[in-house]
Symmetry: C2
Subunit: 283 residues, 2 copies
Amino acid sequence: MSVRGGIECGGSKWECAIGGSGPDLTAAETIPTTTPEETIERAIAFFEREGPVDAIGIGSFGPLDRRPGSPTWGYVTTTPKPGWAQTDIAGPIGRALSVPVAFDTDVNAAALGEHRWGAAQGLDTFCYITVGTGIGGGGMVGGKLLHGLLHPEFGHLRVPHDLTLDPFPGSCPYHGDCWEGLASGTALRARWGMPATQLDGEVAWQLQARYLALGLVAVIAVLSPERIVIGGGVMQRPGLLADVQRELAALVNGYLGAAASIAPPALGGRAGVLGAIALAESL
Amino acid sequence: MSVRGGIECGGSKWECAIGGSGPDLTAAETIPTTTPEETIERAIAFFEREGPVDAIGIGSFGPLDRRPGSPTWGYVTTTPKPGWAQTDIAGPIGRALSVPVAFDTDVNAAALGEHRWGAAQGLDTFCYITVGTGIGGGGMVGGKLLHGLLHPEFGHLRVPHDLTLDPFPGSCPYHGDCWEGLASGTALRARWGMPATQLDGEVAWQLQARYLALGLVAVIAVLSPERIVIGGGVMQRPGLLADVQRELAALVNGYLGAAASIAPPALGGRAGVLGAIALAESL
């Protein structure tokens, strides 16, 4: 049986793991995301120590280049994350370990993980959304990961923003009040002066549920998913998912007939790294 | 060679045509959309007179039911169009002519037509958008028409709406100021008191370009299409497409790297009915 490695590259930490054809891990390590050089070096050291592996799958924060044959394939591209723009991630890892590398977005990897072992098993068209430091989305259409020209960037769609109710200008350095700029963990911290885990107030969380539902309306209108699997740190807030579902029903207002079901990830925080291992199977 | 019929069912007219495996039509007729009974009867009469055909493809306004095996397959469902909600379209036509019927949205049919003979040839992932009486969108992902749970309903996503600049509440009976409620031909007529064809004023058309671009940002963020083919009556306005492209570039602000190209339909007003004929090929 093949031994496969997976890396979920997040903005604050990387999850590295080794597994096979099931959802069990034989080794795992969490690495803090510091500089590209240090972080990549520590990931390589993990696989040198715990491997060998036959192939590695990487699911990374974006935007990134996953177009086959592109000269910057395997790079994180225009990320606003300091020090990480135009960084080759897949190249140095594959070369150091002499293994083939599969490269996709963190959310497409998580979607693949949930499709294989979690809350999206057997579905043809669904999406996976994470609401954490940023907002990202990926998914499958016709049973295949959605790529298109580049890859989806759900977080950067625009949603209605009533400045009289919410004067916060948004936290996205590119767009101000895009979906991510209004409803990510970063936006919550900037608007309310505290992280989501400490935030407790009806007004704040009702507004949050409203923004999340407004973005989901766009996802549903464009993609018509059978299910939306939605996770990430912000979604850990008790009652938030139910509030989002209620806001969404009010916004859709019966128009779209059967509405997509909305569910938390069955694999929890392991969806991304398990999906990265599953990505490596494609090699 | 098979002889195929196609019907593009629009809110104001039905286009009926007969063709084969190319983009040429051997017969065509435009029927005004009146009551369901009268309109369907006249379409049947066209094919009885000009046929016989081996199969018929129907691309219809929606929302509609195209789920195989559904008891209401072939129906237009919750449309706000008076008299047309819960109307069986495919059933009576197939039975009267004793032919198999393929049934999809008007915009998916147009997308298929543009993919076969027009501005989307060879593309893997693209979408087709029409801005007319309403706003609709369809498309392909991985070379196959996008369906998901139901079908896309691009027009009903929400976009930012600054009521101080544009106090118009929106024309959608379900959602008020959704994308269609702000930027369809119906919205233009309601906001400015005249149809788009007579509307002439910088403020009106700049606002229109802005709204169209805001919706396209959502389409690009969710679907990452290689190309957006955008047609419909409102897009006939000279210079509008270029204005939309400029607004879109400003909104995306360089974030998404390579941006989708935007093009008018190469088949013009025939995309829908040609695509409906192409739909019949799937039978």
